[in-house]
């Protein structure tokens, strides 16, 4: 049996490359939940921007930011941060933000973070985290079903 020198095995590099790509593709494939419709990042960003504009136009709102992302580290995550003028009633703004997110076609939706606070003030605001899987029945009842496209 002939012992082949390592240096004489260039096809193995190719094979290793293929193996690495297979593993990488598998890992990346596993890292994204594409089982739900509507995970086109550009489309999701447009929807998030529309919600942001809507929230920014509310009376008392000084700044609004809506960030949606769907990655391994932050799957199906909608983060809403709103700064308001002192004296503004925070509760209705939180409720409105949650309603807009829930009724939007943002998908997949796995976690919603809503932070509403008084702009340039140390006065506490409201931070609310919503788990759409656990709280689905409550959200459906309050705002109707979440569109899955």
């Amino acid at each position: 049996m002939r012992r082949v020198n390592r240096a004489d095995r260039p096809p193995r590099i190719l094979a290793a490359g293929v193996a690495a790509l297979v593993i990488l593709a598998g890992a990346v494939g596993c890292s994204h939940d594409k089982t739900k419709a509507g995970s086109d990042p550009k489309a999701m960003n447009v929807i998030a921007a529309q919600i942001q504009t809507n929230l920014a136009q509310r009376p008392g709102v000084v700044q609004a930011k809506v960030v949606y992302q769907d990655s391994l580290d932050t799957p199906g995550n909608a983060a809403i941060a709103i700064g308001v003028q002192p004296g503004t009633d925070l509760g209705p703004i939180v409720d409105n933000a949650l309603q807009l997110i829930w009724q939007s076609p943002l998908n997949p939706l796995r976690y919603i973070q809503i932070d509403v606070g008084y702009d340039q003030s140390t006065q506490p605001g409201i931070s609310r985290n919503v788990d759409p899987v656990k709280d689905r029945a409550e959200l459906d009842q309050k705002y109707g079903p979440h569109p899955t496209r």
Binding site: R12, V28, D73
Partner: protein, 454 residues
Amino acid sequence: VSSNDLHVTGGVGGTDAYYEDIATLAHGSDNLALSLARISAECHAMLADPDLLASAVLDPAGAATFETTLLGALDGPNGLTALAAGFRQRAIRLRAVAASYQAVDAAQAHAIDTVRWAAGYAFAETMPGSLLLLAGGGTLLAGYTALGGKVDYQRLLTDHPGIVDNVVGAGPGLLSGLPGPFVSDVMGASHLVGMFYPDGRPSVTSLGVDTVANSMKIPPTGFGDLMAGLNYRNGQATEGNDQIDVRVLTHPDGTRSYIVDIPGTKVWDTPGTFNPNLNDLGTNVHVLGGDMTAREQAIAEALHRAGASPTDPVMLIGHSQGGMVAAQAAHDSASGAFGYHVTHVMTAGSPIAHADVPSNVQVLALENSHDIIPHLDAAGNVDRPNVTTVTFDNQLGTIGANHATGTSYLPAAQSLDASTDPSVTAYRNSAGAFLTGGAGTSVQAQVYQLTRLP
């Protein structure tokens, strides 16, 4: 997740601390043996004391009785000399017990690493046959799913995250079986792969003070508050917008402490090209290889801009890659390469087993047992008095949800606040500069955007 579901290893109540206790006991036994031997020697000298010998002339019988009694007390079966020897032997036994425990632990870890390495090497050596076998398996699975069969890969992996340890652990052997350099471990393999990810230079842009979220303006009182800040920042940081924040705590006496929130990976890029995002796969590979990364340098720059001095206490909190960078920064703080006084690190879902964190830095690592990401270093966290690992069981069905700060790690950190485990309590007590209870302490969160320059 309730506090009862949390499993704590390491820290002051951990196995290594127990070994240290044994070593301390051995040291105590040694000291006692030494003292007893010294007393015995002094008493032996007393037997030959000229005054004693002179007095024997006056009372020979009394002197003989005294000498016999003292000799018995010194050299008898239960005498001081025997007692000293006994304590000395006990010290040796205790040291032997501790050493053998540690040797067995190390040997077991080494054996596992070796088996994984050999499997990877065998795979490379038997190519293309092994590759065909792998492809055959893949084809069978594809056929099964094509016929309507269902395989939930995410569920499979998250139920058995040890698969990830085995695959990653085989990587160094696989590389070594190919033409090119020999790599003996995961760190070496990562270092090698890191050569294909140019790390570049850091650039830091100040985004101002965040006054919106409660976690950014209310002093943290517990683990839940700390994680809430990281969770909030993780929601703001995206691909193309690597954000960190520095929570500056100003205490009533005017002193300051700093908490840095470091989100995880947002960009999964392929090797060989320059990527301006510091929160990319390249940083993961570099930091897993033990390198000081551009992202770590950017964090140092952010601390500088936030006003931190080299002696102010700093806590680094990181999710996933953020935790890896935090642990590496803690390591580099010992050598001065990271020029800030890192006293505490808190990680969420980070593979930090290979990070050699100095003993004066307290580490609290949270790991969901169904999160595969902490397994990407193919090793469990070291059990050391300054490294406490809290594992919890929260199977949410997907890799992402099990790994996410919001669905997985924030609830766990909130539950941890109720824990009375000795290691958790010791960490909490040591973190007084950051968990102030809010009495007179103010917080200002400075936000920074990090990018990579060529």
